[in-house]
């Protein structure tokens, strides 16, 4: 009996060890999976659950299931929801296009070594390390119509004061500028990393063939850089889509008095924190989530297509 008992104990340990060996990938990935489930799946599941209820005022109150009513409500709302979608798209695309252009120019300028390069790189990267809320508050002061430094500077050259953030017609574009100011360095950094990893040979070959600077850039550098550019678009694009800090810090709840910078993120935040409409806010967030997934899918497909 004793011998059998000992054999059993050893057997259990061995069995566990073999099981762990066989499922090594799960054992190592387990904590990460658990963490992901806790931090991603649970909130997402809870949001999905709330989105089909009429929960409002407090999630601790009684609520009814209302099916897809919140989704229909959002999708037929041309006063707040669809304009928010439009603003989100405008903000993302405009910011991204200019950040790519300026980022590429900066990356090209910093590509080849020159005197004082370290200093210039540090200066260029400075906006990147600032907290977005602080950036928002800083620009809010700079753009203040009457006492702001921007209008003060314009007055030196005889240009009358501009409303910038104050005018609903110009506020979102002004914030696109702030986003470009802050995030172009990140795009430049990614592109610079890509440029420095490129082999010199294709450039040399093109040079021997008589290609000028522009031709070498457009027909050699850009195609070689395509995977890096797509990566930058993916990273920055998703970030721009869900921008919140600078919008909130400059225009407050609701994206300003006329909701003029109310993107989907700001709209969902307002529904949840200002209106306590948890069901509707959750539906808007799920729709937003689906939009982001769709964008990622399109970009990934494009990358795969090009890679193949």
């Amino acid at each position: 009996m004793t011998a059998l008992h000992t054999a059993d104990s050893v057997g259990l340990g061995e069995r566990l060890s073999r099981w762990a060996d066989r499922h090594r990938k799960w054992v190592f990935a387990g904590p990460a999976i658990g963490f992901t489930v806790l931090l991603l799946a649970v909130p997402l599941g809870w949001t999905l659950f709330l989105s089909v209820t009429d929960s409002k005022r407090s999630v601790r109150r009684a609520f009814d299931f209302n099916g897809i009513e919140n989704y229909l409500g959002a999708l037929t709302d041309f006063e707040r929801f669809w304009p928010s979608v439009g603003r989100t798209a405008y903000f993302t695309v405009a910011a991204l296009v200019f950040e790519l252009i300026f980022g590429m120019i900066i990356a090209l300028l910093l590509w080849k070594p020159f005197r004082g390069q370290g200093f210039i790189r540090t200066v260029v990267l400075l906006p990147l390390v600032a907290t977005p809320v602080a950036v928002g508050m800083m620009w809010r002061l700079l753009f203040e119509p009457n006492i702001g430094f921007v209008n003060e500077m314009l007055s030196w050259v005889g240009i009358p004061p501009q409303p910038w953030l104050a005018d609903p017609a110009t506020s979102l574009t002004t914030l696109v500028f702030v986003d470009i100011w802050q995030w172009t360095p990140m795009v430049a950094l990614i592109l610079l990393a890509g440029l420095t990893s490129l082999s010199d040979e294709p450039q040399e070959a093109a040079r021997v063939d008589g290609a000028n600077d522009w031709q070498r850039f457009w027909y050699v550098t850009v195609p070689l850089m395509r995977p890096v550019i797509v990566a930058a678009v993916l990273l920055r694009g998703i970030d721009a889509l869900k921008t919140f800090d600078i919008l909130y810090a400059t225009k407050g709840k609701g994206g300003g008095s006329s909701h003029d910078v109310e993107t989907l993120n700001v709209y969902a935040y307002g529904l949840s924190f200002d209106y306590n409409e948890y069901g509707l806010a959750s539906a808007v967030l799920i729709l937003f989530f689906l939009i982001i997934l769709a964008v990622i899918w399109v970009l990934q497909m494009q990358r795969k297509g090009r890679d193949s």
Partner: protein, 435 residues
């Protein structure tokens, strides 16, 4: 299928807890022992950035010494405070014991949600003397006959003006809204770089200060039958007047997002002749470190409109106990001490306008207030209306709706069309809010 059930609530609370990482714990009832030995306990007190908080924080060690309770203070800006309550109270947190909250903005919502402990029996003790609290502020912390909060700060709209500009123009202090407009126009005409009048312009932010114009013009937010009252001729007149004051008598570019801090900044820099805002903020105008015109500021009661002078007289902030607090005994002892007659007098001396009648009657407590401000507070207190925004459950939405014509008026738009649209939207809102 009705999901007011226990299962749905348990699921809701459990999931919310997973989201925030907070632990749910219930204290099991709201019975509070006023005389309990709370020594050694720690209470978490959440306060807003406010002159009351700045003055009061220094006194807290006294309470800790007296009771042996450790007080952990979290101090936040108004919006952040509101957001934190939303998240934590929704999750049933016990991480907050004492909360500073806005009775006008969140009082009904929080009480209706069951977030606040019932303090009725506690405030009615002889020692605390609930009858010493002014009626208007006290009524704002009462919901369905139960008291849920103790008012600590009161406010009335007071008119602040530049004495030098008025004198140069040969004008008296305006007693009526008509005189205010004439004075604003005259001063701006004589001083093109000075705005005749400055006020809040942000849609929601402006609602509270606009209310004095509305009430004094004979308007109100909601009719007695629960329908919208903002479509009345009186309300339209008030919207137009508020818009004209800010739009017509300035050459500056109007920033449509101004709350009190931004509009005060304009006045502090000597760029405006008049401003009507909360009297509790008066120090911002007469403090030479903040205001370039500190020595030229005068105060007056709110000018009379066709219905007389009717500014609001409200409790802007109150203290309450979180219903799920595990330290209600200590939390009450803190509030009892913080809102006591003695402490209210001390706070009044420091320039914070409280809700206890006894403090206003104490000559030494009010000795340092400017005489004209005290006179204005007295008159405004007598004429004051006990609300500054629609008293509904979902106040934020209501403010956006009734605030829309304000921004239209300020931008020089079609006020009547904007009022028609807001009136219709407000009626629909009121039906939903009452459900």
């Amino acid at each position: 299928m009705k999901y007011g059930s226990k299962t749905a609530r348990v699921l809701a609370v459990a999931s919310a807890v997973a989201l925030t990482g907070a632990l749910v714990s219930c204290s099991g009832g709201s019975d509070v022992d006023e005389n309990a030995d709370v020594s050694g306990e720690t209470i978490r007190v959440t306060l807003v950035n406010h002159v009351w908080t700045e003055a009061f924080k220094d006194l807290i060690p006294e309470f800790e010494k007296e009771t042996g309770v450790t007080v952990e203070v979290t101090q936040l800006a108004e919006d952040q405070l509101s957001d934190q309550y939303n998240v934590k109270l929704n999750a049933g947190t016990d991480e907050i014991d004492v909360m500073m909250y806005r009775p006008l903005q969140e009082g009904k919502l929080f009480a209706d949600n069951g977030y606040l402990a019932d303090l009725t029996d506690l405030v009615n003790s002889d020692e605390f003397d609930w009858s010493d609290f002014q009626d208007g502020p006290a009524s704002l912390t009462t919901y369905q006959d139960a008291v849920y909060g103790v008012p600590i700060i009161t406010e009335r709209t007071v008119l602040a003006y530049r004495k030098d500009l008025l004198e140069a123009a040969g004008l008296d202090v305006p007693q009526t809204l008509e005189e205010l407009e004439t004075a604003a126009a005259t001063i701006h005409e004589q001083n093109p770089d000075v705005a005749g009048y400055i006020g809040r312009t942000g849609k929601s932010a402006a609602v509270t200060q606009f209310s004095a114009f509305l009430f004094s013009s004979g308007g109100k937010w909601i009719n007695d039958d629960g329908t919208s009252a903002i479509g009345s001729d009186e309300a339209r007149g008030a919207y137009e007047l508020y818009g004209r004051l800010i739009h017509d008598y300035t050459d500056a570019t109007i920033n449509p997002e101004m709350s009190w801090a931004e509009s005060f900044a304009v006045f502090q820099q000597g760029q405006a002749a008049f401003i009507a805002d909360a009297d509790s903020l008066y120090k911002n105008l007469i403090d030479p470190e903040q205001s370039t015109v500190a020595d030229q500021v005068g105060f007056a009661a709110f000018p009379a409109g066709s219905a007389g002078s009717k500014p609001y007289n409200v409790a802007s902030w109150a203290l309450a106990i979180n219903e799920t607090s595990a330290h209600k005994d200590a939390a009450w002892q803190f509030i009892d001490w913080a809102a006591s007659k003695e402490k209210t007098i001390q706070m009044t001396e420091l320039g914070v306008t409280g809700a206890r009648t006894s403090a206003w009657a104490d000559e030494s407590a009010i000795a340092d207030y400017p005489a004209d401000l005290l006179e204005a507070i007295k008159i405004n207190g007598e004429n004051g209306v006990g609300q500054d925004r629609p008293l509904v459950i979902q106040v934020a939405q209501a403010r956006e709706i009734v605030g829309d014509p304000i921004t239209t008026a300020i931008s020089g738009g079609d006020v009547n069309a904007s009022v028609d649209a807001a009136d219709e939207a407000f009626n629909a809102f009121l039906v939903e809010d009452a459900e």
